[in-house]
Amino acid sequence: MMASTPAPPELPRRLLVKVLPPEADGLTILGDLLEEFRDRVATDGVRAARAWYRRQALVLTVQIVVNPDRPRRVIAQTVSDFTLACRSVARAPFLMTAIVVTIGLAVAANTALFSVFDGLLFRPLPYKSADRIVRVDVNPTARASLSRDSFDRAIKRAGTTPSLTERATARPATLLDRAGAAVTDWGLRTYQVSPSAFELLGVQPMLGRAFTEEDRSTTPLAVLLGHDVWRTRFAGDPSILERSVTIPGTAQDERWRVVGVMPPGFSFPEGANFWVPDHTRWAPPLVMPYARLAPGVTLEALRAELPHLTITPLREHVRPRGAFSLALLLFGTTLMLLVAWVQVAALLFARATGRAAEIGVRLALGATRARLARQFGLEGAVLILLALGLAAVIAPALTAWIVDVLPADTTLGQHVDLDVRAFVFAAGLSVVGLLVLTLLPVDLIRRCSPARLVRGAIAGDMGPRTTRVRTALFVGQLAIATAVLYLTGLAAQSLVNVADAPLGFATADLYAIRMPRGDSLFGTGRVRFDQQRRAVAETIDALRRLPGVKSVAGTNSWPLQPDGLGDITLVPDADPAGSPITGRRASIQPGYPAVLGIPLLEGAEPTFAELSGIASERDVWFALANQSLARRLAPFGPVVGQVIGGRFRISGVMPDVVLDRPDRPVAPTLLLYLPPIASVNVVLLRLEPGHTPDQAGIPAALQAIWHSPAPRPFPVADAVHLAASDYRARTFLLGLVAILTVPLTMLGVAGALTYATKQRTREIAIELAIGADARDIRRRIVRDALRAATVAIAMGLALGIGIGQVTSSALFGVRAADPLAVVLSIGLVLIVAWAAAFIPAYRAGRFSPAMVLRES
């Protein structure tokens, strides 16, 4: 009988069981349906009844799922839970502030650091099809090996090939006085650019217009202002357009006509913020030529077509340096997140273990475990909301500050601002992390019965484990802080070592002047070279006659000029079968060692008459060898007078001085004497002590020869400063991470210790009641903290030394295990640990036993 009773279709029935409320409520409805189903079987037949049941199940399910009362009920419950969560957070204000500030700072710092990192390395350049824009440079080896005519032909070909379109030029402008107020006070970085440059980049002025061909010849000279210059120096005045303005310190106090203002963040090339029109021929190395690859032309094809020139994509050119430094930023960011999370975990763990009794009571009162889990999740959400609010306030200011203090040669004029994606990413990670951490108490709930929780038996079970975990977290964060401080110490020492590296010559009173090509460029071929050569010779003569000038010499690069020296390979005559010597090569004029102030160790400089005898590149040229090269060329015999490979006659030996990079050993270097037929790029001069170029009358002398724009002398010490820029950037970035990490760590350690002390209030009160000395208790808390700090320091130093070894190529004059950095980081971390333990220790010593015991 039972078997023949038709049953409702199984799937809809199961669906109903799933969606209907549990127990009696749901069963009544199921029963009603079943009863009616059977009635329908009797009247309409099984098939119709089943169809009816299916329909009913579907409609009922939809109605239950979209029940308008349901969200209202959930919202009401959530609001009540949320209120409870807020109250619970407010009950432990110190701990919660520590968590909120930690996460807020960590998210803000991460966002800021990541924004900078991403902005400088990965974000596409904000120019039109930036990946097709290339820069064309002279290949130094090709230049040395080619005859002047072939070299000219190579340059000309680059200027006319159909593989390149939209040619544009840019070059640092010499129009503004380097030492003038405009540069120092206004922070002007002036570039002369061709009118086509803005079209090439696809960037238009925010106000006004870009340069036109007419702007090249009109007076006052047209100028485009950077957004910052316009905002800070002209108060963002929109009526400035086409007005004539003066800029303090500019040559001859010229007046300038502002034709436009560039959009915020535009600083092409190399951080420019003041542009004047240029009309120089599109030819390296006189200007920096840029162009766009013609459609269908690949970079490789262009390189094959122009083998004597170096073609670099704009992206690589803008972002070639500092990649290592920026990688440090990413590393720092990761470390910082780690520190933050370790301590948030420590704080929340401390709190969770202190809530055993509360959880027990609530379970005993009938709260479901799911409800408790949701409660803890909501507490996490309250914390996250507060922390993200804090981060949103701090992050933009922090990003702006980092960009502001970042060394200019790291940013290379790229525009960096807060990256919203970075904020969302860091915030998202924090949300996930904090929710996971706030659910720690759920682990407690899962493992314990309410009775055990309320009785406090849990404390006995969990005690040693909790203490162990808490100590591990405490040690972990101090270890990371130690490693960061240690690495900062290594980077700082490297920077000091590079900046103080003995160069072998004094940079005081030593100046360099880059010889311009000026209007002589409009000549061609030999006429151009002759004009330039005559002007340089005149300059050197004029400078020699000035009273404050001690010595002058021409050269092709100033000491420590980036990429100033070329490569050379020599085969010593003494050992033709031996391995060739690879080294560096510079071009100088007689008097160069005297300007540097270094006496020759052997031999003498060639005379003017001897040099005049050299008529072509095929003749034997005179050269100086440095000591390293001399030792390699002739280990046992005299080197002076030797002719190397039939091309270079060694006329003298000079000591090893640093002309290339201060952080590399001095390479075997050959200093070729330029014959009078060769052109000179740089004039190097030493002034009498205490003289400045202005006092010596140098600007006037240069003005008389070169007219406007006249070149300006600059101190060689600037080049030394520039050479240390990588180290400076690294030190700065690590220092930044340390500055952000140390307070985070201190906050976290102080929070965890305070909470741990608070949990032991009763124990401490009993100790005090039975006569313990408050000072002993304070000392014990501090001693415990310092003991943990000692372990942390050992781990942190091991980590720091390990990282130092892996990155030893970035260190200079300091080993991965450096005693000074070890001592300093130990000292600092101990101070941090002591300071963090001081407040909880002080509070513990002030407990009133009677009060505490009465309350408990």
């Binding site: 069963l27 009544t28 409805i29 029963g31 009603d32 409609v59 009922l60 109605q63 009362d69």
Partner: protein
């Protein structure tokens, strides 16, 4: 007893309460559905009825008792609904309001009142 305050009823709530009154001790959900269909010509979905019953219960206009299920229901329990004093007062108030509103327009309403 007489102090139970009438509550404003929606039209469907009014019909459901009337159906429960009519059905007396047999006021189960399926029979209420049938009554609504037969006497008021209203075909309503089961979900709408259960939700209305819930709401009326929430307003304390009706109460229910759980009866032990029969074999036809596989022994699943069923609820028998009945009006509370407040429910009855509300039905009365609604009915009176409707009657008063209909006075004078019986001609227009045709034979509905007969």
């Amino acid at each position: 007893m007489a102090t139970a305050k009438p509550v404003y009823l929606g039209e469907f709530e009014y019909l459901v309460l009337l159906a429960i009154l009519r059905l007396g001790p047999e006021a189960y959900a399926p029979s209420i559905l049938r009554a609504l269909e037969q006497h008021a010509g209203r075909i309503v979905t089961r979900g709408a009825l259960y939700r209305t019953l819930d709401r009326l219960d929430h307003k304390e206009l009706l109460r229910w008792k759980v009866h032990v299920g029969t074999a036809a229901r596989n022994d699943m329990p069923r609820r028998a609904y009945a009006l509370t004093a407040a429910g009855l007062a509300s039905v009365r108030a609604s009915h009176r309001a409707m009657s008063r509103m209909a006075v004078g327009v019986e001609d227009l309403l045709g034979d509905s009142s007969s």
